[in-house]
Symmetry: C2
Subunit: 331 residues, 2 copies
């Protein structure tokens, strides 16, 4: 049974798991990411987590490698973490060398002779995990959208990541749906993130709900200033018409972008993850309603919008999958 270690490197927390190639996680650990202390401290933390999950490796077995899902862009050869936005001081860190230097001798002894260390953008890794071990598993091709602080995404085509020319494909949050629309942080007018990114979403909600009768006035303080997606969702689940209408507005925006993607790629399955997706059908039904209106007539059938509910798990599983895929390609 092949084994690999998957690492989900985040700006605040890092998770690692020992994974077998059927996706089973033999041991999972989590630690803080000492982001402010620079790359060496972060790499030491990863090495420590790797050492801990390695304890679960069955006697006599070896590990095929370590896959790391990293925030921000990664080089096309999966070696270099370029400039992660949430990891100060990182600039073109070559992970196979940099991480290997921190691995304990006991860990190195249990790595296979041809073991690899591979990095990949975290949204891509999450999609790979979903494709092999999550909600995307039944679908050879789908587009994943992650609704979090930003809006991320990835394309799975025939069970492989579609990576594009430099490995940066899937930046769905920067696609415009209105060329004169509101500006996202990227400076792109009408970018999807300018509607559905966490901060933008709550700001739009506040503007739209401030002068309307809604239970949200009682659920929040100071004129909805502390509104967040969880509170909005709770109000919608309680049947609050204004909250429901707001999710319909937000879902419509996501549906517009996904409709454009159907026309371009003829991929009709979407897997939605990330914190905001916890709103479930209150958000996703409006998405499902909107998509066909932005798709040419011949391509409106078979459109499926699912939720990825195993967000944390698929991230480490997908990171481990990088190693298994590499071994399959080599074979």
């Amino acid at each position: 049974m092949p084994y690999a270690i998957g690492v989900d490197l985040g700006g605040t927390h890092t998770k690692a798991a020992l994974v077998s190639d059927d996706g089973a996680m033999l041991k999972t650990v989590k630690g803080d990411t000492p982001a402010d202390s620079g790359p060496a401290a972060v790499l030491a933390r990863i090495a420590e987590l790797v050492e801990r999950v390695m304890e679960a490796l069955p006697e006599g077995e070896t590990v095929g490698g370590i896959g790391v899902g990293a925030p921000g862009p990664v080089s096309r050869d999966r070696a270099t973490v370029l400039r992660p936005p949430n990891l100060p001081g990182w600039k073109d860190v070559r992970l196979p060398d940099a991480l290997a230097d921190h691995l304990a001798g006991s860990v190195r002894q249990r790595m296979a002779q041809d073991a690899v260390i591979l990095a990949e953008n975290d949204a891509n890794v999450a999609a790979l995990g979903s494709a092999f071990y999550g909600a995307g598993e039944p679908y050879p091709s789908f587009v994943m959208v992650t609704l979090g602080t930003g809006v991320g995404g990835a394309i799975i085509h025939e069970n492989r990541l579609f990576r594009g020319a430099s490995g940066a494909a899937g930046e769905i949050g920067h696609m415009t749906i209105d060329y004169e629309g509101p500006y996202a942080r990227s400076g792109v007018a009408g970018a999807l993130e300018a509607y559905l990114g966490h901060k933008f979403l709550t700001r739009h909600a506040r503007y739209q709900l401030l002068t309307r009768p809604t239970c949200l006035h009682e659920m929040t303080e100071a004129d909805l200033a502390d509104l967040d997606p969880v509170t909005l969702h709770r109000a919608a689940m309680g049947g609050d018409p204004a909250a429901l209408e707001f999710f319909a507005w937000a879902g419509h925006k996501l549906g517009v972008a996904l409709g454009a993607i159907v026309n371009l790629l003829d991929i009709r399955t979407f897997v939605i993850g990330g914190g905001v997706s916890a709103a479930g059908d209150v958000l996703l039904d409006p998405v499902r309603n909107a998509i066909p209106r932005y798709v040419m007539p011949g391509m409106r059938s078979g459109i499926t919008v699912l939720r990825e509910t195993r967000g944390n798990a698929v991230a480490v599983q997908g990171a481990a999958r990088l190693v298994f895929e590499h071994a399959e390609d080599r074979a």
Copy 2:
């Protein structure tokens, strides 16, 4: 030297060529498409054109097959022409059987034993031709956009067509750039075609230029009612500020859509063909200016927008390429 016959089946004309796998066209012929007489008459015309180009086949050689670029959607197995919008009476025509029935005995004798008949959507075929024998040749991955009556497109990824789940990928004209924008024929609000499709383009031009001082009032009759892209282009080349401004408006709209594509696919090369693209840099410079404004900061470098000037040739070459590719895959 492998040979194939490429056929470009259009609503009004059909072209065919005998092509060798280096792209050389040994003989090219063209005929009317008897579209109103139904599928049998059209298939007979194709068979006749095939017979004529076969005359150029060198003594002792055989032809590996016939590739046909057809308007509208084609089944994923490249056998069935589904419902071409400009060919009345066609509905799910299985081309390998239907065309073979019409081929002359002299043609069949010179087809290889394992010869194939393959169909593919005409926009895809044009992109394939551009990728191997046209402006796209230096680029392993690019997106082709065809600006004609409608706005078509295709994706070439690592020298292959990216076809999507059912083979319908590349419908760029139906991507929205403004979810509350003008309606295209498809019913999609703000679809690219609602700005750049031939009829829409001239209508927008008329609205924008009607009350402005421009030489177009003298170049056209009856309040710009007979305005067309060629006249617009002539005015712009003469330095008419209003015509130049109109092309800047139109190019901006195309750039918005191409920017969205860069974010999604990380493909940064675009090849623009079709009648309207004859406007050249008057249209394409505004496209080049607009794209980066709709792309996230990290992906704005290396963006290239080219013209495919060999439109007719790459269509038949691309159709022949279907046959060569099929043979390579089988080998």
